[in-house]
C-alpha cells in the first residue's frame, strides 16, 4: 500500500511537464539530438532526488526530537498551508535560461521540485513509517522511499519524453497539458488532511 503510493506519486511528478521531461525534450529538439534528451533526464531526476531527500532528512531529524503524533500534525499543517498557498497565490516559478550545463540542469530540477513541494507530498508516507521517531531507521527508510519515488518519477518522465519527442510532437501540449499545478495543490492539501486524520 505504502509502496504503491510512493510509486504513484513518483509517476505523478514524472508526468508533470514542469518537473523536467519537457525541458529534456526542448533541449533535444533545440540541438536535434535524442542523445541530449536522454542525457538530460537522469540529471533532472538527480535534482528531484536531492529535493526529496532533503525533506526526508528534515523529517527524520525532527522525528528524533518530537513524538510521532506531533510530527504528523506538524507535517499535516505544513502540507495544507503549502497546498493552499499554491492554490491561491498567482506566483509561479521563475527562471531565465535555456542553455544550461548538466550541473546547472540538476540545480534547476532541484529548485523546481523544491518550489513545488515535491518532497512534501511524501510526508504522509514518511510520518507513518513504523520507524518514525527512531532517527537512524527513519533516515534509511526515508531514503529508500525517496529512491523508489524518484525512480518512478524518472521512468515516467523518460517514457513521456521519448514518446513526445519521437512520435507526438510538442503540439500535444496544447490539448493534453492539464493544469497539473492546480491538481498538485489539491494533492498537497489532500495529503495534509490525510496526515492530520492519521495523527488524530
Amino acid at each position: 500500500m505504502t509502496l504503491t503510493a510512493v510509486i504513484l506519486l513518483g509517476a505523478f511528478h514524472g508526468i508533470n511537464p514542469a518537473m523536467g521531461w519537457l525541458f529534456a525534450v526542448a533541449r533535444g529538439l533545440q540541438e536535434r539530438s535524442r542523445d541530449l534528451l536522454l542525457q538530460s533526464l537522469p540529471v533532472i531526476a538527480l535534482g528531484h532526488l536531492a529535493s526529496v531527500a532533503l525533506v526526508v532528512a528534515v523529517v527524520s531529524a525532527t522525528g528524533s526530537l518530537v513524538t510521532a503524533t506531533a510530527l504528523a500534525i506538524g507535517a499535516g499543517v505544513v502540507l495544507v498551508g503549502f497546498g493552499l498557498w499554491h492554490l491561491l497565490a498567482r506566483r509561479h516559478f521563475r527562471w531565465v535560461g535555456m542553455r544550461l550545463s548538466l550541473p546547472q540542469l540538476a540545480a534547476w530540477s532541484f529548485l523546481m521540485s523544491s518550489v513545488h513541494g515535491a518532497g512534501l507530498m511524501l510526508l504522509p508516507v514518511l510520518t507513518r513509517m513504523p520507524a518514525a521517531g527512531h532517527h537512524g531507521h527513519a533516515l534509511s527508510g526515508g531514503m529508500l522511499v525517496a529512491g523508489v519515488h524518484t525512480l518512478a518519477m524518472f521512468l515516467t518522465a523518460a517514457v513521456v519524453a521519448v514518446v513526445v519527442y519521437e512520435f507526438l510532437g510538442v503540439a500535444v501540449l496544447r490539448r493534453a497539458w492539464f493544469n497539473l499545478d492546480r491538481m498538485w495543490a489539491f494533492a498537497l492539501v489532500g495529503a495534509g488532511i490525510f496526515t492530520l486524520v492519521g495523527a488524530a
Binding site: 525541458f23 526542448a26 533545440q30 509561479h92 535560461g97 501540449l173 496544447r174
Partner: protein
C-alpha cells in the same frame, strides 16, 4: 484565475502558430496629435464574413490626454510554454499600452468584450522611481515577466533601457540591465529566447525626437546606428555592432521565430550620404555577432516644389524604412517605406539574399497614391506600422509614424488610414479601408491582432 488547459492562443512552435485560425479583431493604438482629446484603442473587425468587416467596431478612450500611444503588447504569449518555467494556464487577456510621451503605462482587459476596459494605470513616477526610465515603448512577454523598453531616463535624457514588470500584478519591478556596457540610446528589443540572447536597437533620447527630427543631429550622425547584444540570463551587455554612423536610426528588430536560428533583421531609416534606407541581417559568426546589409532602397528624385521644407535641400524623397515585419514562418519580410509610400514584400527563405517579390503603393510624400476603395482621394502618410497574421496570409498597415515627425514630412496633414494586403496576390483588400473620420480625428499607429501576430510571440520549440 488560471485555466485548466493552456490558453488556446499559445503555440509551442512557429510551425504550430502558422496553423492558428484567422484573427477576428485588430486592436489599433490611435493618438491625438493636439493632445486635447484622449488617445484611444480602436478595435477593427477583421472577419471578412462579418457585416461590419473593415469598420471600427470598438473604441476605448484613455482616461487622460497627451499620452501619444505608440506600441503595445500582450500580458502573456506563447513563451509561457517555455520549458524552464512553464505557466501555460495564464490567459492572453490584457493589453499593456505605454504612452510614449506621458510615460504612463495602461493595462486594458480584452476578455469577453469588444472595446477594451481599463484595469490599471502605472504612473510615470512609478516607472521612473523603480526602473529609472521614461518614454516606454516596446512591450514583450518573456521569461522574467513583461519587458518594456524605454527611450529616456527618469529626470535625465538617458540612458534608455528596459524595465521589468510583474506579469500578474503589472507592478514595475525595476531596471532590467545589470551591466549596460556602452549602451546609451534605446528603442526596440527582442531576443533569441533559446540562446539566452537579447537584442536592442537605437533611436534617440527624448530631446532628440520629441520635437521632430533635428537636422543638425541627423547630418551630424548623432541618432542611433548600432545594435546591442545582451546575455538574457545575466542581464549583461555582450557586444555592440555598429552599422556605420551614416546609417541613422536602427529601429525595428525582427529575429527569426525558429528558436534554433540565430539571425534576424533590423531596418535602418536612412543613410545620410544618399538618403537610401536599408535592411540588415544580424547573425552569429562563431562566437561573435555581426551584421550585413542585405536590402538597399534608394531615394526617389523629386522636385523641391513638391517636398516639405525638411527635404527641400535634398531634392529627393527618402524611402524612410520605419517598420519591418517577419512572417511567423520566417519566409517573408515586409518593409514599410513611409516616405515614398510603398510596402515591399521579400522572400527571405535565404535571409542573406532577400528577393523582392511584391510591392504595393499607398500615399507617399510626393506620390499620394490612392487606395482602390477611394480612388479619388490623394492619400497622405504611407504604409508605416506593419503587422502580419500568424498564418502569414494577411498584412495590415497603418499610416502614422510619430506625431512631431508626421508634421515635418506631411506638413499638410498625415491623415489617418489603415489598409489590408493579401500576402499571396499582394494586392489591397478593397473592402478593408477604415480611414479619415473612422478614426475620429486620431492617428493610427501600431496594430495588434487578436490572439497574437507575427511580432507578439516567442517560441521555445522548433
Amino acid at each position: 484565475m488560471t485555466l485548466w488547459k493552456p490558453d488556446p492562443t499559445f503555440y509551442p512552435s512557429p510551425r504550430d502558430a502558422a496553423e492558428a485560425p484567422p484573427e477576428k479583431l485588430a486592436y489599433v493604438a490611435a493618438f491625438d496629435r493636439s493632445a486635447r482629446r484622449p488617445d484611444a484603442l480602436a478595435v477593427l473587425d477583421t472577419d471578412p464574413g462579418s457585416p461590419s468587416y473593415g469598420t471600427v467596431v470598438g473604441w476605448t478612450d484613455l482616461p487622460y490626454t497627451g499620452d501619444e500611444l505608440h506600441h503595445f503588447g500582450w500580458n502573456a504569449c506563447s513563451s509561457a510554454l517555455c520549458p524552464y518555467a512553464p505557466h501555460p494556464h495564464v490567459e492572453r487577456r490584457y493589453l499593456i499600452v505605454p504612452g510614449l510621451r506621458s510615460s504612463r503605462i495602461y493595462v486594458y482587459d480584452t476578455k469577453d468584450r469588444v472595446s477594451p476596459e481599463l484595469v490599471k494605470v502605472i504612473e510615470a513616477e512609478e516607472l521612473g522611481k523603480r526602473a529609472g526610465y521614461s518614454r516606454p515603448h516596446t512591450v514583450h512577454c518573456g521569461p522574467e515577466g513583461l519587458y518594456v523598453s524605454a527611450l529616456g531616463g527618469y529626470g535625465d535624457d538617458g540612458p534608455g533601457g528596459i524595465a521589468i514588470l510583474d506579469h500578474n500584478s503589472f507592478e514595475v519591478l525595476g531596471r532590467w540591465e545589470v551591466d549596460r556596457g556602452p549602451q546609451y540610446l534605446a528603442y526596440d528589443f527582442w531576443w533569441h529566447i533559446n540562446h539566452d540572447v537579447l537584442v536592442t536597437s537605437e533611436w534617440g533620447t527624448p530631446s532628440m525626437v520629441e520635437n521632430g527630427v533635428v537636422g543638425e543631429l541627423l547630418l551630424g550622425r548623432k541618432y542611433g546606428h548600432k545594435i546591442h547584444f545582451w546575455d538574457l540570463r545575466k542581464r549583461k551587455h555582450i557586444q555592440e555592432v555598429d552599422l556605420g554612423d551614416q546609417h541613422q536610426m536602427t529601429l525595428e528588430l525582427r529575429p527569426a521565430h525558429d528558436p534554433t536560428k540565430t539571425y534576424g533583421f533590423v531596418g535602418v531609416v536612412t543613410n545620410v550620404e544618399d538618403l537610401s534606407a536599408s535592411v540588415w541581417v544580424w547573425h552569429k559568426d562563431g562566437s561573435r555577432w555581426t551584421a550585413e546589409k542585405v536590402i538597399t532602397i534608394p531615394a526617389e528624385p523629386a522636385s523641391p516644389d513638391d517636398l516639405p521644407d525638411v527635404l527641400k535641400p535634398f531634392g529627393a524623397v527618402p524611402p524612410l524604412v520605419t517598420d519591418i515585419d517577419l512572417s511567423v514562418d520566417d519566409q517573408r519580410l515586409y518593409v514599410s517605406c513611409w516616405g515614398t509610400g510603398e510596402l515591399k514584400q521579400y522572400d527571405v527563405s535565404d535571409p542573406f539574399k532577400p528577393v523582392e517579390i511584391g510591392s504595393v503603393r499607398l500615399g507617399g510624400i510626393v506620390r499620394r497614391e490612392a487606395h482602390p476603395a477611394a480612388p479619388d482621394e490623394r492619400l497622405a502618410g504611407g504604409p508605416q506600422m506593419v503587422e502580419v497574421s500568424r498564418d502569414g496570409r494577411r498584412v495590415y498597415v497603418t499610416n502614422s509614424l510619430y506625431g512631431a515627425w508626421d508634421d515635418q514630412f506631411y506638413p499638410d496633414g498625415v491623415g489617418a488610414w489603415m489598409a489590408k494586403v493579401d500576402a499571396e496576390s499582394f494586392t489591397l483588400d478593397e473592402r478593408f479601408f477604415p480611414h479619415g473620420d473612422d478614426f475620429r480625428g486620431l492617428r493610427p499607429h501600431q496594430t495588434r491582432l487578436q490572439g497574437g501576430d507575427a511580432s507578439s510571440d516567442s517560441y521555445c520549440y522548433p
